[in-house]
């Protein structure tokens, strides 16, 4: 992976004004992955969108890490189910039109 796709945790936390412990906790709960490059802990750019979502759940809605873990997994299921609904609706329409 190219280093341009990574950002140090320290830089990220300083930008958002959040404690580094929040990111490490997300990692402990396996909600995100931390990469260590030359002794610097980093996150991948692709994860930022997810971290922002987790930040909103935690800081705006006061949801603790255990709750976030549960909510996050349920949201993933919702997304998969919504995709499946679209696909099945199209399939149903196909047979209804027969």
């Amino acid at each position: 992976m190219e280093t341009k796709d990574l950002i140090s945790i320290q830089q990220f936390c300083s930008h958002y004004n959040i404690p580094i412990s929040f990111i490490t906790s997300l990692n402990e709960f396996e909600l995100i992955e931390i990469d260590t490059i030359q002794e610097t802990q980093c996150i991948q750019k692709g994860q930022i969108k997810d971290i922002e979502k987790l930040m909103r759940l935690h800081f705006e809605l006061d949801i603790n890490l255990e709750g976030m873990d549960a909510v996050y997994n349920l949201l993933k299921q919702v997304a998969t189910l919504q995709e499946e609904i679209v696909e099945l609706t199209n399939k149903l329409k196909f047979y209804e039109d027969m």
């Binding site: 930008h15 750019k45 919504q82």
Partner: protein
């Protein structure tokens, strides 16, 4: 402009304490937050109302003005000053809010890696604007070829390229056409959901098309040639002798274009529907009887 009862929205009374406001907001936000209600427009609308109510009632200055001026509270000159100060204060603390719809890059990434203006941090954190959702109704014929269409979203004209093969219910993202960014942050995205109606004789399932073709009895028995409509013109097909009712033939590459794969197409499946002749003459009946005797 009709009066909005922020107390009613949060389900609290006028003499609610700051703690009551916060508690009511948190409770409702957990219920209607767009992160927890993906693709739910009703929840999104409700959340905006709750947020607005909280913006007003959780700030003592705002609340005082609201209680005093009612619906015109925002126009109070003094309030505007206070609001400006408050916005400055909030910008140094707030975290991304409203950028809840999915995007390829976050506002943070845009400001850090986008190269445009990465200097501002801390007191002037940039946040991506709100994402907008829209629905576009098209006919199946419209999405057989890639074409451009001009849409008006929130008063702004957007020239959009609609790729061939887009599916019913599919959502595409138009980057930067959502709400304006905060503190010079990138704009939100526009999410367009396609609603595709099919009024053609073809049925579509993913990239494949299906068509029923009537075949007269004699051609089915003896074989021959027919002309069949496909989505991009007519084709001639040979009918094998003794073709059975309901038999399917596949015309490779005559289906629907594959989304974002130029030159690739699904297949067209033709089902033969053999039509038995009606209103037979006496002579015809007689000949059929003779045929039957031969079996």
């Amino acid at each position: 402009m009709s009066f909005i009862d922020y107390y009613k929205i949060l389900g609290i009374t006028k003499n609610a304490t700051d703690k009551d406001v916060k508690k009511a907001y948190r409770k409702l936000a957990r219920k209607y937050h767009p992160d927890l209600n993906p693709n739910d427009k009703t929840a999104e609308k409700k959340f905006k109302e709750i947020n607005e109510a909280n913006e007003v009632l959780s700030n003592p200055e705002n609340r005082k003005k609201y209680d005093h001026y009612g619906k015109d509270w925002e126009h109070a000159e003094e309030f505007e000053k206070a609001k400006q100060q408050q916005q400055y204060h909030r910008s140094s603390q707030q975290r991304p809010s409203g950028g809840y719809a999915d995007g390829d890059f976050s506002d943070f990434f845009e400001s850090m890696f986008g190269g445009a203006s990465s200097g501002a941090r801390g007191a002037n954190v940039k946040f991506r604007g709100q994402d907008y959702n829209a629905e576009l109704h098209l006919n199946l014929e419209d999405v057989y070829t890639t074409h451009k269409q001009t849409l008006t979203v929130n008063g702004k004209k957007i020239r959009l390229t609609i790729p061939a093969g887009v599916k019913n219910g599919q959502v595409i993202k138009i980057k930067g056409h959502g709400g304006r960014g905060i503190n010079g942050g990138p704009n939100g995205d526009l999410h367009i959901k396609f609603s595709i109606s099919n009024h053609t004789q073809f049925k579509r399932n993913k990239d494949n098309l299906y068509l029923n073709v009537d075949l007269d009895l004699y051609k089915a028995v003896l074989g021959g040639e027919i002309t069949v409509d496909t989505f991009d013109g007519k084709v001639k097909l040979k009918i094998k002798p003794e073709t059975q009712h309901g038999i399917k033939v596949k015309l490779k590459g005559k289906g629907f274009p594959v989304y974002k794969k130029t030159g690739q197409f699904g297949d067209l499946y033709i089902t033969y529907q053999i039509k038995i002749p009606t209103n037979l003459t006496d002579k015809e009946k007689e000949l059929f009887r003779e045929l039957a005797k031969l079996r």
